[in-house]
């Protein structure tokens, strides 16, 4: 292609149906191809910008390799970790630093090697492959490229053969689950996912995973506990990649930094993060929907719980996003329209109670952590309560958190145990986790929970069904008769 072609280059375009299908989390094959093309375009533009700073010299070898084997070079440039390198290189150049440009020569050398023959300095290539019901997936398992450390989590060291075999077994089973439950999502996943990067586990979590906006199609994930965890994790992270690609093409939010409540984190999140959470959980919810309604399977209370919990969270989070661009309005309306019918689908009443409680519990704890009453408001609340006056109009303000916050919840842990049919208490009736109030609340014994929750303000609000801002109740936590206070604040 000549330089005249650059002058003729056109903007990326999506049909209205394609943008809506992306919002609904159901893109067709052609739309995914368009997204992948746009990400290749991004990486090429990054190269263009790198050349604009350092000159075309360092790209000469790669350009020669491309003339000899254009398909192979395209393939290497389209890889997610190349996007990580190119973005990092350009950021460094713009900051006046001297990044390692020789990566381009290494890439040119790699392009000249036969496909399955790694450079002698590199680890042998690893992959994960699976086929079920005629649907296949092959992804690279990248446990050696130093660039994998830029995906947001600490990479695991290279896998030994036994570890690789364990990943493969879990991957095979996860693929079977995905193809059986959500075949269309599985097809999208197979088209988007390029590589899996094993990362070190977080002792405070059952599993962690991450996606970088610079690395379309790469998922960093700790070794999953089981196939379901891997299936859900891959669905979730693939959605992040897709949303990143959509947002490369179109701004969806006018004010992406506006802080608010996210059902998936304990700290205040920017609107862009809330959108990411809702979009990732759209397909996760779809997965649990199929798991909870499979007519051939025994009803799984845990699957029903996940479905009921996340359908509400996705719908609420998407519905509360404000200041949307025209493309954002189209995208998010499609997302809301996808999840809306699920809200009316039947769920066992006992499971529904626990799902709604879990969402409310998280919201109340988030408010308590992040919204604060100023000293003057706190004084006025105390004075009015002690004087027996009507509740004054005192409000709270949201404060940004200094860092990511995510903590375990004993009530949620007990809820999972309850749904699995596991015991909640030990041999002497002591709670295995949480408090006596938590155990009573999860079992649905509201009266016992109210009696037991003496020091747990959120627990009292939950069990009593009060419509109260917990940060206001916390101001009066030293006053006697907390139930009366909650009634006064309602």
């Amino acid at each position: 292609m000549s330089t005249a072609a650059l002058a003729d280059a056109r903007p990326h375009r999506l049909s209205d149906a394609a943008l809506a299908s992306l919002g609904a989390g159901r893109p067709d094959r052609a739309t995914v191809v368009e997204l992948k093309k746009s990400q290749l375009s991004r990486n090429l533009l990054l190269l263009h910008e790198i050349a604009a700073v350092v000159g075309p010299g360092p790209l000469t070898e790669l350009a020669e390799a491309e003339r000899a084997n254009p398909t192979r070079v395209r393939e290497l440039i389209a890889r997610p970790l190349f996007g990580v390198w190119a973005a990092g290189c350009l950021r460094a150049l713009q900051a006046g630093k001297n990044p390692e440009i020789s990566h381009l020569s290494a890439l040119a050398r790699a392009a000249r090697l036969p496909r399955q023959q790694p450079d002698k300095s590199q680890q042998p290539n690893k992959s994960l492959k699976a086929t079920h019901n005629g649907q296949s997936i092959t992804v690279r398992l990248d446990d050696s490229d130093p660039l994998r450390a830029h995906l947001g989590l600490r990479p695991a060291p290279p896998l030994d053969p036994a570890q690789h075999a364990r990943w493969q077994r879990t991957f095979t089973e996860a693929w079977r689950l995905l193809v059986t439950s959500v075949p269309a999502d599985a097809e999208v996943l197979a088209a988007v996912l390029d590589c899996v990067v094993p990362v070190l586990p977080d002792p405070a979590a059952r599993g962690i995973s991450a996606t970088s906006a610079d690395a379309f199609g790469a998922v960093a994930i700790s070794e999953p506990a089981d196939a379901t965890a891997l299936a859900v994790g891959l669905l979730h992270e693939t959605q992040h990649s897709i949303l990143n690609a959509v947002q490369y093409l179109f701004d969806l939010l006018e004010k992406p930094a506006t802080l608010g409540y996210s059902p998936w984190r304990d700290d205040p999140r920017p609107a862009s993060g809330i959108l990411h959470g809702a979009y990732a959980y759209l397909t996760v919810t779809r997965f649990w929907r199929t798991q909870s309604t499979d007519p051939l399977a025994q009803t799984d209370p845990l699957a029903q719980f996940e479905f009921a919990r996340w359908r509400a969270a996705v719908s609420d989070a998407a519905g509360k996003l404000r200041d949307l661009t025209p493309a954002g309005a189209r995208f998010i309306e499609a997302m809301s329209a996808e999840v809306r019918p699920w809200l009316d689908e039947p769920v066992d009443p006992g499971v529904l109670r626990l799902a709604e409680s879990a969402n409310r519990d998280h919201y109340l704890r988030w408010r308590l952590r992040n919204r604060h009453v100023d000293p003057a408001g706190a004084r006025e609340l105390r004075r009015a309560w002690r004087a027996g006056e009507a509740r004054p109009d005192v409000t709270s303000e949201l404060r940004p958190a200094p860092k990511r916050a995510l903590e375990a919840s004993a009530r949620l842990d007990l809820t999972h145990r309850f749904l699995r049919g596991d015991p909640l208490t030990g041999p002497r009736g002591e709670p295995l986790t949480g408090s006596d109030g938590d155990v009573a609340y999860v079992r649905g014994d509201v009266a016992a929970a109210l009696r037991a929750y003496t020091d747990d303000g959120v627990g009292l609000i939950l069990a009593g069904g009060f419509d109260v801002a917990p940060e206001l109740a916390a101001v009066l936590s030293d006053e006697p008769d907390r139930l009366a206070i909650l009634g006064w604040l309602s």
Binding site: L14, L47, V53, P56, A229, F250, A257, P270
Partner: protein, 79 residues
């Protein structure tokens, strides 16, 4: 241009601010770039090459790099 619905065609479509260079070779992409160490990439509008659209596209790319809205999206099953 970014995000606007084109209603002039038979089928509405969304036109991105980002230029599709996926069909260009590396040689094509860099042939108009002269050695300019320390130059400001975002200002490399090169009027001979579809100036305004390309410049807008490159500014948006630079903004994305400088201010990534959500650089790392993560999942933690502790919740």
């Amino acid at each position: 241009m970014d995000g606007a619905v084109n209603t002039t065609g038979a089928t509405p479509e969304w036109r991105s601010a980002m230029i599709d260079v996926s069909g260009l070779s590396i040689g094509d992409l860099t042939s108009k770039v002269t050695s300019a160490p320390g130059g400001d990439a975002a200002d490399d509008t090169d009027g001979a090459i579809n100036g305004n659209a390309l410049a807008h596209c490159l500014r948006r790319l630079a903004d994305d790099l400088a201010n990534p809205g959500e650089p790392i999206a993560g999942f933690n099953s502790a919740l």
